[in-house]
Symmetry: D2
Subunit: 328 residues, 4 copies
């Protein structure tokens, strides 16, 4: 039944990502456009349980499209994993008169939404916001493109000093379960080798490749390593191993860490967030629930939250091949 929805809540949950504010802004403005009230829920499910709400109007989100982080803050909530926690949450929504929610985040965020929807038939639409790009049902998650640019920009800087000193750098980037950032930023930064969780290059092949690189006249090299790479050694262990076995290289390590989550979002992420945020509201107004909105081959598509959580978004293996060809 359409038009039932009168007041939409919006939250960000899990690890923050650049563009979350652009998504919030899109939800708020779409609510305004369709004449529905909008309420911000602070700190994800934690704020939901505490009833930490704020009314949002079109002006509340002025000058936020360009800001990193999330104005609604984010958190991980243990209590929402309990039935009591979710009961409190539901009661707060009833009290506030919120009758549907847009959930911006990743796997954990969507899982929460699914369970909650199951138990209380509460309409929820998910918007994929995470830098890791590891969500099934969308080619791109909000924040991923910005993170790639951040990583590439930093490796450009590291390359300046690497090539001035003829050094080999191991650069660790985010991605515990997925190599999207490592693979794409690695190709973008012109890395000599890229280690991803999806493929076990093996230590021997790494050494071989670095030796060949040296022989071919390369005086400096960058190896990009995803946090969760398959070799199963920390980036520092890797660096030591290579230094021991290839004494001709002076090796350095750089762990990029949390800076990858911040910064002004790229144009791509702002546009993506705007499109997905609007669509999420329209779906709720249309009586839909339990779906994630995503960008598939340039079009906005929906996926069941369950599929989005359980499905596997695979890296582009053609790009591994391109990387091999480039790293001569």
């Amino acid at each position: 039944m359409k038009n039932k929805v009168k007041k939409i809540g919006v939250m960000t949950s899990g690890g923050d990502s650049p563009g979350m504010n652009a998504a919030i802004r899109a939800v708020v403005r779409a609510c305004h456009y369709y004449n529905v009230e909008c309420v911000g829920i602070y700190r994800g499910y934690e704020g939901l349980i505490e009833g930490d709400f704020i009314k949002l109007n079109a002006r509340s989100v002025s000058n936020t499209i360009n800001r990193g982080g999330t104005i609604l803050k984010s958190a991980r909530s243990q209590e929402f994993r309990t039935k009591e926690g979710r009961a409190k949450a539901h009661q707060n929504l009833l009290n506030e008169g919120i009758d549907a929610m847009v959930l911006i985040g990743g796997d954990g965020t969507f899982t929460g939404g699914m369970v909650f929807n199951d138990e209380y038939s509460f309409p929820c639409i998910g918007v994929p916001g995470t830098i890791d790009n590891d969500i099934y049902g969308t080619n791109f998650t909000i924040g991923y493109d910005t993170a790639l640019n951040t990583v590439v920009d930093v490796i450009d800087k590291i390359r300046d000093t690497a090539s001035s000193h003829n050094r080999l750098f191991f650069v660790e980037v985010m991605g515990r379960d997925a190599g999207f950032i490592a693979l794409n930023a690695g190709v973008g930064a012109g890395a000599e080798e890229i280690l991803v969780p999806e493929e076990d290059l093996g230590l021997d092949r790494l050494l071989e490749s670095l030796k060949r690189s040296k022989r071919s006249g390369k005086s400096s090299s960058i190896v990009v390593v995803a946090e969760g790479d398959k070799i199963g050694k920390s980036v520092f262990e890797l660096a030591n191993y290579v230094e021991e076995n290839l004494p001709e290289y002076e090796v350095r390590v750089s762990v990029l860490g949390h800076m990858q989550r911040g910064g002004a979002p790229s144009c791509f992420d702002r546009v993506l967030a705007s499109r997905l945020g609007v669509k999420a509201v329209e779906l709720l107004l249309d009586g839909k629930t339990n779906l994630m909105v995503g960008l598939v081959d340039g079009k906005i598509e929906t996926t069941d939250l369950e599929k989005a959580v359980k499905g596997k978004h695979n890296i582009n293996r053609e790009l591994l091949r391109v990387s091999d060809i480039m790293s001569i």
Copy 2:
């Protein structure tokens, strides 16, 4: 017949765009990988006619992936439009032993390639490099994503001063025939209005919208205008017209101009350029010609050069609607 190609020439032609160097690098390294020689042709068809060539090996393109502009330089050639010019060009290719070419550029570049291929059956593959994104057969041209980020970054700066002073800014961006930059950067920058060549908003609606904006409490506004917008007035005339009719606004104009063509390419453009450059070489080695490589729904696809030139790449009209919703 495969494997005929032994030496590939590569040129950049027309307006330069960020990522052209990444595409050149990909062509060079793919040639190396496939054991084919590679020759750089300076200044597009002009250099081709003059025989201004340089041998390129894998090391020639070290540390270029992150650099704007084109190391092969670019130009527009009148002489190549004559039969004599093309004959000279062909002779130079024969003399140099080049038996196939990768042409990086836009419409004009591809038209040249088509004619040349027709007259001399010389194998040519096109790679779309232009910031305007106005090429049929690819969702994204090389340089477009970077230009969007440049524009959004500049408008973010302009917004700082616009909102400090409660001003209305008209910002002109590139796009004589296509509104891709205006539309996407406009949405990304949170513009209140976006004027594109594809749609005639009309002066009245612009005034109406700005009045409504003012009433709704907005104290500053940004209007993004494509060079070739439909209203048919220069951005300065537009600004004057609005200032006369809406004296409550203090109006300023900013024409972004050529800075949009420069700068370090974004990760997206570097990856795109790498993929397309490799594919272009592989197609030539595979005996193909007269095609453009492009990115269609995430996959590398080919299009006849003629179609690429004559086809129309349309802006996303859904995004015009999103823009309307956002600009409340």
Copy 3:
């Protein structure tokens, strides 16, 4: 007599500049530190006349140090130039219990402060915030360093396309009366010629220099022009003149405009703003008035507001010489 001051007002006035928020933050936090109340005055003297005030505490300025523009907004006020306007302003200050003011801005801002201080013996300390660096009594104004980086960054982008196409660019930068931005950003960007208001290079010498540049093998050139350059032609007239007289050059013009006022402030501007803001509060608490704080040879010094307004801050002529040597 010390300790009289119990409540300090702070405003930004005139053209905004990056780092104004860092200065406001420093004033607010210094007030907190010294246990004095702090009130923000919106839109400079205009807000002062209208009584548009806001209480500011230490938290009000969280996460503002990195933001361009001014959270207190800025304006130019005609009414404050009248005795009646100033009487209203004074009455508002009395009503609010504000007994001293920090004025962040440039010449016009300080002139207002001086007159007001004369008529009402109202304690005022000026903080130099303008991108033009044209204030006597400080080596650097807040925002100047950021503007230099913005200009240099844009010219780097323009150079990419200039050198890809062998073009000559005229780039107009801000500076109606002073060539600080043109001279320093010109040297920083490696400009071939720099035209400043302080020196009449003359059209002939410009042509001569560009010819020599061409002969020496330079294929592209950048000429940086201050808005108020001495030759007395607009940058477009200059470009036309050169194109007519040096047909070997393809000439383009870029007017950078208001983007120069925006953006996240550089570290230098943030530190400068923090130091000057603290000092301004300490001076007021110390019973001082009618002074501007500035950075002179690395130390915070004070200058009479009158001197600051009437004195002339001269560009570094040694740097003109360095520019000549560099532009071979």
Copy 4:
């Protein structure tokens, strides 16, 4: 005796810093201007001993002013510490006809120059290029300003995620012996606490300050730590200690590392490098030796190399006080 110098060598040595290329460019162009030959020496003293030289003319340094790293590469040489090494180096200079050198680098670089000058009376002028700003005789070293902006830019990004999650971040920046980067970037980034080698804040005061911060309503905090801070714990030990003692904080660590050495130099660093490079050549032409050029209170001044190496450049203690006031 003037005018003896006919051919000047230039090298970069030690840790690289942004702006070194701008300094090389200035030396090369000043040589051209004064009609003296210029030779680049690769990889500092190592290349000097190996005779790894390259002729540089005005065009050799085109489009380098904006590039990080050093086109002459850098290295640390053990062999130059031996008398034999220096004898080889001297012989290479004689063979090449180089009769004076400009040495761009830090303490180690200048020490080498001093010894060499002593033993062979070979004219050497030092130019301070290091991001650490720890050289006596100049207010600013080349690269320091850029490093500050890099650090502040990264901490801005980290703050996005810190404040979205109410976290406490320990950010380690470069500076083994000097707290310049930590102190200035810390103030610029709005850090709550700054730990520098020059002052032992003590663990208790750190805890106390963080507790107070929390009580005052701060939900996130950044502590900037110089590599060589006085507390004598690694940044990870510090973080653990705080997490154990202040369980209300969720603590994260980020070690910025080598990215601080790279990147396009800021305008300030480019201008500084241009001025110092020109002056270094002029001093050599003027028969001077064993001096370092520096910027002191806005003017180019010289200091004996020995003093530059042995003297202590102190951080600005007023700024520690400003930091205290700001971090409420």
